[in-house]
Symmetry: C2
Subunit: 237 residues, 2 copies
């Protein structure tokens, strides 16, 4: 690990204009559930995933051979076969396919980060892969939490804290958000799922009966994939 | 305390557009150092403090009998007698006077919050007064962290966490930022000054030789004042 490089955390996409992205490695984080679903998709053989802004854009790509996926407010959008439930990416249906995906928070954060040197996708399911990759690279790192409708959320911040904890072992942390994220993760890591039950997003999603999704999203290292943005599409690194 | 009212934390002024302010009690927080200085000013007999946007506006009010104060980037602006060091408000010079004050973060956050039902000023030096007042009122509460140049900072978040801890004893916290702030405060409260030495702002200010200011700013309950915005000026409640 390079000593002294910057490791920063951007707590919501609304704060992105405060950061220079151009020379940085950016990790986009939307634990519940977009970036978890994306990591599991590549683990299960998806060819590529194209983040798009609207359900209409996702549908329009069907004619070019894409599977169309869309989520809004935690639910599959009417008329779509699937949204951002990780399990929809683990049942063999996406294997070898291209997917066009739009979600409430995650796909927007990916598009807003596109000017970075490299845009990577992180979630608890690929934590170790993310950390190992960043540790080998010299560039400054910006961990971008997708949040919930532009505001702070706990689960994305916890994942950012996990990366900071493992990556910044030997160096001073000069970003208060990174410091706070690390402290929160240290408090949560013994029981991530138990901890996240206090969060607003858990309460929102649990009402929809998708507790199994949340459990999977809070599980470490289920995927060896490191999705990276190339042009307009995510591919396996 | 009213059960079930909302207690939310806005982590930076850039996130303020995400909140409805109109029916809320807003507490503006700029621990290092604007809101600490304001609280200490009222403790030491200042008549009123007028938050203004620029040093020019502050100077222009001199002709109307105001003392002019201005801080930028942690330092007194050239041509001004004082800025936002709390000690400048504790030496008898502000007693009975009106002060016009502009600072890097705090005065901006006050102005952006002006549409709230009531805008109060909080800092560790008046924590108990803030909590006691809010506990008697039924309205929803929004704790607004002034941050550093629109981004997250640790010290303002810790104060917000202190208020949440004391105010939300018997109720579910439905705002992730409030939950995170409370968790961070619980971790920090045994040694606030020791804790804040890790923060970016401490490192920034310590280089300017104002460690005594920081110690004072991290001290609980030195002031019994509760500054409140009336029109364009802060007064004692």
């Amino acid at each position: 690990m390079t000593e002294g490089r910057k490791i920063e955390v951007c707590l919501t996409p609304l704060l992105l204009p405060l950061y220079q992205l151009e020379d940085k490695l950016v990790v986009v984080i939307d634990v519940l559930r977009a970036t978890t679903a994306i990591c599991m998709g590549f683990e299960h053989g998806v060819q590529s995933i194209r983040p798009v802004a609207t359900p209409e854009e996702s549908l329009a790509l069907k004619s070019q051979g894409y599977l169309a996926a869309a989520e809004r407010n935690g639910q599959v959008v009417d008329g779509f076969d699937f949204g951002n439930s990780p399990f929809a990416y683990m049942n063999g249906k996406v294997k070898g396919k291209k997917v066009a995906l739009t979600t409430t928070n995650g796909t927007k954060a990916i598009q807003l980060s596109a000017s970075a040197r490299e845009v990577l996708i992180g979630s608890f399911v690929n934590l170790q892969v993310v950390v190992d990759y960043l540790a080998k690279r010299p560039e400054d790192v910006l961990l971008v939490c997708a949040g919930w409708k532009d505001n702070f959320n706990l689960e994305d911040t916890l994942f950012a804290g996990a990366v900071v904890e493992q990556l910044a072992v030997k160096q001073q942390i000069s970003c208060d958000a990174a410091l706070a994220a690390k402290l929160l993760y240290e408090k949560a890591k013994k029981d991530l799922f138990g901890f996240i039950r206090h969060s607003s997003h858990y309460q929102r999603l649990a009402k929809m009966g998708i507790e199994e999704d949340i459990k999977l999203c809070m599980t470490l290292n289920l995927s060896r994939s490191l999705p990276v943005l190339r042009g307009e599409e995510l591919h396996a690194h």
